[in-house]
Symmetry: C2
Subunit: 313 residues, 2 copies
Amino acid sequence: MRRHLAAAIATTLALATAPTFAAQDKPTPSAKELLDASKPSEWRTPDPDNLLYMQLPTGRVVIELAPDFTPLHAANIRTLVREHYFDGTSVNRVQDNFVAQWDDPASDDDHPDPAKLKSLGKAKKTLPPEYTRAIDAKLPWTELPDGDVYAPEVGFSEGFAAARDPATSRMWLTHCYGAVGVARDISPDSGNGSSLYAIIGQSPRTLDRNLAIAGRVLEGMPLLSALPRGPAPMGFYTDAKQRLPILSVRLASDLPPAQRANIQVLRTDSTTFTALIEAKRNRRDSFYTLPAGKLELCNIDVPVRDGGKPVMP
Amino acid sequence: MRRHLAAAIATTLALATAPTFAAQDKPTPSAKELLDASKPSEWRTPDPDNLLYMQLPTGRVVIELAPDFTPLHAANIRTLVREHYFDGTSVNRVQDNFVAQWDDPASDDDHPDPAKLKSLGKAKKTLPPEYTRAIDAKLPWTELPDGDVYAPEVGFSEGFAAARDPATSRMWLTHCYGAVGVARDISPDSGNGSSLYAIIGQSPRTLDRNLAIAGRVLEGMPLLSALPRGPAPMGFYTDAKQRLPILSVRLASDLPPAQRANIQVLRTDSTTFTALIEAKRNRRDSFYTLPAGKLELCNIDVPVRDGGKPVMP
């Protein structure tokens, strides 16, 4: 029965106004039922120019870049990847309930020796921040109905959790679980994509609009989220042996099609995605005594499948 | 410089209305500065009758029970602990961005064999749900100013993240990171504290008021949050060898004082706690270009120290 419990916990919500659920009542369709009924046209295959394969000793992390939000960072990261800059770097910092960060280990010294730093090659050393972009009617927008503590409007655009402020006509990607951000130094233009972090805990939305978000992890989050936390302040490892080596990072478009993953992401402007949100907001089943009737931005997973099989969120 | 960056990322926020931070400006005090200046009277030593020490092969997890919110569950868990019920149980389920759950492994079968289940001894098999309790002016309440997607009011009471609904005069603990919940089967009275879970990812607030929260983890979260995720649906392990054994669970009050941890928790009705929240909401320093000016319930850590040393959040 615990598995039954777990299933209910993992997927359930119900109408705040719902009467007690009776045996003869029809439960809200599950995420699996909704996805099984989805149309092929509701799934998109990410552009291979936006897909990064990060090979770790423990497996592969797949990241989708977000060039419509951070185009200069996407371009610089592609340049670094094509130079094999990340090959031989490592995950150097894992802070519990916050981030896993990977970069050139030499850059993590308090006063890095420039002679020891990996060359950025043709990649730019500084970039305009790209923390926000103009709201554009050409970008799809699926708005959530329940509001947000941090932003006037929240929703999804092109598969990414995002926020908007009509007063300034700006929009930006949000630091939800799995978001991949661009680390920087004090100067806002000091982020260049050579140091990246993934959110592995409660979404630190206070970072929104203060750091550029390059994309999000589509597959392999547990390879980052389950890493040993670093013993030093902010989760830095104290011994080079604790660092997880990054064997390689490649762009899907640089690999022969036969070596590419067959990854698809549910369109966040699809009928099925809207139905998933509604089912989670207003789920009715035999488990829940009091439904939330609401749903917060970072509580929503955008479904991904690889080779037709669902990627476990 | 990356450490500088990390420090800023880990602690920063600034006034939404703040002018550009200038070199001569005084930055908002850091969490460390505020805690270093705190008074001894602002820290409380949890009642040893409410402190659980869960000994894992990898270290110790310390959990504080919340008897003012879930008294019957606290009493039943104390009974189970004094019977050494949990000794020899295990963490049987770790679902990425959701929960780590521990209990009698035999109970995780789809149709558990009653003959194989551990005896609950004198502990009750069923309990009233205790999902919410009446608002009581005698309970301290530190309310947050920035609202919440899921509840009319949110804040802290006796060290626990909580929510209130004046319309119903009820309050309840919330499923923030580190909350320890009581797993149950379909029937609301089927939870008894013999199966517990800790939140290890984005707070699944949709569980609020549908499951009893027994308390929260004060120390040792990484021992649960960094565990390998289970390969089966909902993060169940598929092989008994994957399960992490629980060597023992003891109440601090059942140990000689010399064997007890010297744990203190910052009072959430203290001036310093309010100052920490304000500093995080409205932080100003050289790193942040745009402050949030707001702060969400589950983005706030309640400081804990063990032997005078801060417990890393």
